[in-house]
């Protein structure tokens, strides 16, 4: 643990829904730690429990057993030190961009003038200074994401939790947002816990990739990404990139196959396709 805030520790965390007799187990005896001050990526197939992981860190859901700690303190509920950017925009559509960004400081009764100054700074940084008095519905998807980032950053969180935030965006906007997130992290150094199902996104953005198994989710592999910062798209052609991608893909195929098999053997031909693809990799 370095001196930076945002260290997260999962200690024997189990999250299950439903009755005792037939529970739906999402996480089971999950034990891992993520390093503060780094860009941490969680990668896994759909339905493996990545969103539940984020929800537990954010404090929206409580573990059925075990506990999650941030910087040594147990997480009991939502808080300003852990801010979330969701898959679909959670901006308040009845408030302007400026009002949205100011929501956190206003809720804390902080000095309005100072907060407004910070807000303008952040809006300039995310490039939305001309849209401060517009409503979220008047912004494009990429702009909405940037507004959400500003809304979160003004509260100086210790960790940013991002749950597939670029999912609905088109490829160009997505790449721009990835580059932007990279720069932002390199500039501000806030611990990131980023969930994605896109492996390329994970390698481009991350310092460390945690690969999750099929449900119930556990961390099956941790891969360090030894690409230099600031990140550049030319690195996608590097040897290190290919190496990380190969390592990750092998495991991901296994896990995808497992989650598919868990749903019955009806998809036998798809599982066959998985195996073929995996052999082609070698």
């Amino acid at each position: 643990m370095n001196g930076k805030p945002g260290h997260i520790a999962f200690e024997n965390v189990t999250v299950q829904f439903g009755e005792e007799i037939a529970p739906f187990v999402v996480l089971e005896d999950c034990n891992f730690e993520i390093e503060s001050g780094k860009f941490n990526i969680l990668v896994g197939t759909s339905g493996c429990g990545k969103t539940t992981l984020i929800n537990v860190v954010a404090g929206y859901e409580k573990p059925s057993s075990g506990r999650v700690k941030m910087d040594g303190k147990v997480i009991t509920g939502p808080g300003r030190d852990r801010l979330v950017v969701f898959q679909e925009t959670a901006l308040f559509s009845w408030m302007t961009v400026m009002q949205n960004v100011l929501f956190g400081p206003v809720a804390q009764n902080l000095d309005k003038k100072e907060a407004k100054g910070k807000a303008w700074d952040l809006l300039r940084r995310v490039g939305l200074q001309d849209f401060a008095d517009k409503y979220p519905t008047q912004l494009s998807g990429g702009m909405q994401r940037r507004a959400e980032l500003a809304r979160a950053l003004i509260n100086n969180p210790k960790i940013m939790l991002m749950d597939e935030p670029f999912r609905g965006l088109d490829a160009m906007t997505r790449e721009l947002m990835q580059e932007y997130s990279s720069r932002l992290f390199e500039e501000l150094g806030i611990t990131q816990l980023f969930v994605t199902s896109e492996l390329e996104e994970a390698i481009f953005l991350g310092d460390r990739i945690y690969i999750l198994s099929a449900r119930p989710a556990k961390v099956v592999k941790v891969i360090d990404v030894n690409l230099p910062r600031p990140r550049d798209y030319s690195m996608l052609a590097s040897k290190e990139y290919a190496h990380v991608k190969f390592e990750a893909l092998e495991i991901l195929y296994e896990e995808a196959k497992k989650s598919f098999e868990a749903g019955g053997m009806d998809g036998a031909d798809l599982i066959e396709a998985f195996d073929k693809r995996k052999d082609q990799l070698k």
């Binding site: 404090g59 939502p78 808080g79 801010l83 009845w94 408030m95 956190g104 809720a107 804390q108 409503y135």
Partner: protein, 267 residues
């Protein structure tokens, strides 16, 4: 909206579009009356007994000079506004209370769900017996009509609020009061206004029905009187008057909605 090509400035373009729509509306209304006249004169099955357009125009002539007719407009409007406003003033807070407070919902909701299916028109006898004046009886029936609509829409709107919005607010440090006033209330406003627009229509239905049965003044009462005295032309004029009055009322509600919800582009 038609896209007018060319370098016209926006106001000029809007004016042209407005005129096209207005022209079409006038054309349709005139066409409607022509069709009516033709069907009556050709003695089509149903249209044989319906007064043709010239009888309606003669009815209009009678009605314009009837002070009682003009007095019926404010009489009806008073009941509409009273019943409608009461329904909103009681219904919106009650609906919101049920949305946020489990205890309130568990106690009040069953009673509402048992009473709601009773059509307000069915309440008229009880209303006449229960309330001291006819006026209050009519307003009560109007109130009921709008009240159920308000409750249903408020509850539905509050339930439909995205869970992530609440979660985002909690993460940003919002208190319970903040969540109610800054998240739940604004997010439910569009549903509240839908309830108002629908409720306004229902209120008119209830007032007209109540006036026909129990009233001594008002547009609904006039309609019934013209029926009893077999003044069919005037009767049709009365019906059209009610339509116009309802249109004005709904228009006012929509205008209020546009002002109060600037973030909704179309309403």
């Amino acid at each position: 909206m038609e896209i007018e090509a060319g370098s016209k400035t926006l106001p000029a373009r809007m004016k042209k579009i407005y005129n096209v729509h207005a022209f079409r509306a006038m054309f349709a209304i005139v066409g409607f009356f022509i069709l009516w006249e033709v069907l009556c004169k050709l003695k089509f099955p149903v249209f044989r007994n319906i007064p043709p357009v010239e009888e309606v125009i003669m009815g209009l002539w009678d009605v314009i000079f009837l002070p009682k007719y003009w007095a019926s407009w404010p009489a009806s409007f008073f009941r509409i506004i009273s019943g409608f406003l009461l329904a909103q003033l009681v219904g919106v807070p009650l609906g919101l209370a049920m949305a946020v407070n489990r205890y309130a919902k568990d106690t009040v909701f069953p009673i509402i769900e048992i009473l709601r299916p009773i059509p307000p028109v069915g309440w008229i006898p009880v209303a006449i017996i229960f309330w001291p004046t006819r006026e209050m009886s009519v307003i009560f029936v109007a109130f009921l009509g709008a009240f159920w609509i308000v409750i249903v829409n408020v509850l539905g709107g509050a339930a439909a609020i995205d869970l992530r919005l609440r979660r985002a607010a909690l993460s940003l440090g919002a208190s319970r009061r903040d969540i109610f006033w800054k998240i739940i209330l604004p997010a439910t406003l569009p549903s509240i206004f839908t309830g108002m627009v629908v409720g306004m229509g229902i209120t008119w239905e209830m007032v007209v029905a109540a006036e026909m049965i129990a009233g001594r003044t008002g547009l609904g009462y006039m309609l019934w009187e013209f029926y009893l005295t077999y003044k069919l032309g005037a009767l049709i004029v009365c019906m059209i008057s009610i339509g116009i009055a309802g249109y004005i009322s709904s228009g006012l509600v929509r205008l209020a909605g546009r002002k109060l919800m600037p973030w909704r582009r179309q309403f």
